[in-house]
């Protein structure tokens, strides 16, 4: 790419060279951003798959030598890894489902209706983030034990929902505001009930934003370690499990754990990437 543009710069006239240098800038920007994301993942993967020796080799070659899945599989076979991975998925699943199911209607109401105390309500939603979890940890633990939610994935999912919900409500509010009201009104006039209009017109147009919100909720839950550590003993999520186990583990185990934390988020975002980009362009203007 760059050699092409270089030769083009030498021969072309001024406007063309302006265009090509713009292109060069664009591609180098893209390359830098990709490297920003991919290089750390690559290094972690290298550490995880390189085995005991690979981690300690010095100087680092940066090349995938001596790669095998064996160390990673060995890591997976360690007691509790797979279970905590599934626990994390479960908690994240609960968080995504609940924060969309509760947050999206709240966001819709904030976007479409005028009601008394709307602004205070919005502030209240954000206030849930004003109390540090560290302060709430003890009372939460006590009441979770009473309710029978202590050391369960549902309990962790609920707490993660609390963390994700304010964002879900406020982000979806912005998304629903982006769907012109006239489209909804047109749907009503042409034979839809309010519910039908929502699912036939508003939901498809808001889908990219809702999916982005889901990704966000997923990542919040997947990365959360404090509440998960405090509220579980045996049913640990992956982050909580790794936090307790990894400090006593060999280096390549830590890398394997890191890779396992990274991969699901990457796969999940990759799977829904289609919905992250507005397919039709919401605006009808």
């Amino acid at each position: 790419m760059s050699t092409e543009t270089m030769s083009a710069t030498e021969t072309a006239s001024r406007p063309a060279s302006f265009a090509s240098s713009r292109r060069w800038l664009l591609w180098s920007g893209i390359a830098a951003l990709c490297a920003w994301v991919l290089v750390p993942i690559y290094l972690v993967a290298l550490g995880a798959l390189g085995g005991r020796q690979g981690v300690y080799i010095w100087p680092k070659t940066g090349l995938p030598t001596g790669i095998s899945l064996e160390p990673f599989i060995l890591f997976l076979k360690t007691e509790g890894v797979v279970q905590s991975f599934l626990n994390s998925l479960g908690a994240a699943g609960i968080t995504v489902a609940l924060s969309i199911l509760l947050g999206a209607p709240a966001g819709y109401a904030l976007a479409r209706y005028d009601f008394r105390g709307k602004d205070s309500y919005r502030l209240l939603v954000l206030l849930t983030r004003a109390f540090p979890l560290a302060i709430l940890a003890l009372p939460l633990t006590v009441s979770f034990i009473r309710l029978g939610l202590y050391d369960t994935i549902i309990g962790v999912g609920l707490i993660h929902t609390v963390l994700a919900l304010p964002f879900a409500a406020l982000v979806t509010q912005g998304i629903f505001l982006g769907v012109p009201k006239e489209l909804e009104e047109a749907a009503w006039v042409f034979g839809c009930t309010r519910v039908q209009a929502f699912f036939k017109v508003v939901a498809p147009l808001a889908l990219p934003g809702i999916v982005a919100t889901a990704v966000f909720a997923f990542v919040i839950s997947w990365n959360e370690v404090f509440a998960a550590s405090v509220l579980t003993v045996r049913n640990r999520t992956l982050t909580a499990y790794l936090l307790t186990v990894l400090s006593e583990s060999p280096m390549h185990y830590r890398f394997a754990g890191g890779l396992m934390l990274i991969l699901p988020s990457v796969v999940f975002i990759f799977a829904v990437r289609r919905y992250l980009f507005a397919i039709w362009g919401i605006s009808s203007k």
């Binding site: 489209l183 047109a186 006039v189 042409f190 498809p204 039709w280």
Partner: protein, 352 residues
């Protein structure tokens, strides 16, 4: 039968009265425009009829059935929105078919109706496209086709042409008239553009500050405005209003004596359309001081004053008048409207 009766509709937003007891009857198959400046309540009235807004009090009936309180979908009407409101996630075909699909029409009927509507609006080539690939004018056509496809009893249009550029607007106006004439749908058309209203409507309802000031045929409204507001709002240039003294029930206009309605004080307002005059030699005609003369090609536009009050008149392009001239004008007495200086309301036309 789809006549519409709007019966004493009121709408308040807090202390502000958007509509003050508006009543209006629209006959079956008639095209009526709600015309007025922005903020006069015309769009609010349309949205109340559509069911998108609730009225504070009053009733709306379509064909003897009260529709107040019904959901929009149960009112048997279709609507064209100002910014089109074409569904961006559906193809043009699905957009036009939307209303029929909601009525659970079978595929054959949907196809027939969509093709018919698309044919009327000349959008057949775009049926597979998504709206974001269309221009504003084409989207507007889709919006109209979507409304016509359901063969509504009543069609509501909210400033449908105001987002189009001037040339396209003229073209769409003519086309709308052709299409709607053949469809025979009862239509309510909201606009602030008086030429649109004049050109399209069977009758115009001129609204101002939440009140219908006058309802009538475009020419009748143009020639005999019921109020000073209507005369000033309709026509380009607007009607001239000249306050003149009355003596013995007559008003002197140059050498001529014009009869005025009975029971007026010693002053009356003479409402004069700019083109209801012709040049006359000075002692006979009424005197006008011309400040600016603008030859427009098709006519000559003169801005100046009569009795020290600003007026605009239109003369044939063949006349030669220059800026700064003083000229005499003979008034077409059949086309004079007399208005009360106090209330601004016009008197019934006087003979002789």
């Amino acid at each position: 039968m789809a006549n519409i009766v709007i019966d004493r509709i009121r709408k308040s937003f807090g202390a502000f009265q958007a509509l003050k007891e508006v009543s209006l009857t629209i006959n079956d198959g008639e095209f009526v425009s709600l015309l007025g400046p922005s903020g006069c309540g015309k769009t609010t009235l349309l949205r109340i009829i559509a069911g998108l807004e609730t009225s504070t009090s009053g009733d709306v009936r379509i064909g003897d059935r009260s529709i107040i309180g019904l959901a929009p979908k149960d009112r048997g009407l279709a609507m064209v929105f100002q910014n089109y409101a074409v569904f961006p996630h559906m193809t043009v075909y699905e957009n036009v078919a939307f209303g029929l699909r909601m009525q659970k029409a079978d595929d054959a009927r949907v196809k027939a109706q969509v093709e018919k509507a698309a044919g009327l609006l000349h959008i057949e080539p775009y049926l597979d496209r998504y709206p974001n690939k269309l221009s504003g004018g084409q989207r507007q056509r889709v919006a109209v086709a979507r409304a016509l496809a359901v063969e509504p009893k009543v069609l509501l249009m909210d400033e449908p042409l105001s987002n189009l550029d001037a040339l396209l607007r003229l073209e769409m106006r003519t086309e709308l008239k052709t299409v709607l004439q053949s469809a025979g749908t009862t239509t309510i058309y909201v606009t602030h553009d008086q030429t649109e209203a004049m050109g399209l409507s069977d009758r115009i309802a001129v609204m101002h500050n939440g009140v219908v000031e006058q309802v009538g045929h475009p020419v009748e409204i143009y020639n005999h405005p019921a109020t000073r507001f209507v005369g000033g709002f309709i026509g380009s240039p607007p009607m001239n209003f000249i306050k003149v003294p009355v003596s013995n029930g007559r008003v002197a206009a140059g050498a001529e004596q014009l009869a005025v309605p009975e029971d007026v004080g010693n002053e009356i307002v003479l409402g004069l359309r700019g083109e209801a005059v012709e040049l006359a030699p000075l002692p006979q005609g009424i005197e006008m001081k011309v400040r600016v003369a603008e030859p427009m090609g098709s006519h000559l536009l003169l801005t100046g004053s009569i009795h020290d009050q600003p007026v605009r008149v239109i003369l044939p392009a063949s006349e030669t008048v220059r800026s700064g001239d003083t000229i005499g004008l003979k008034l077409d007495r059949k086309r004079i409207t007399w208005l009360s200086p106090e209330s601004g309301k016009s008197f019934p036309a006087v003979s002789a």
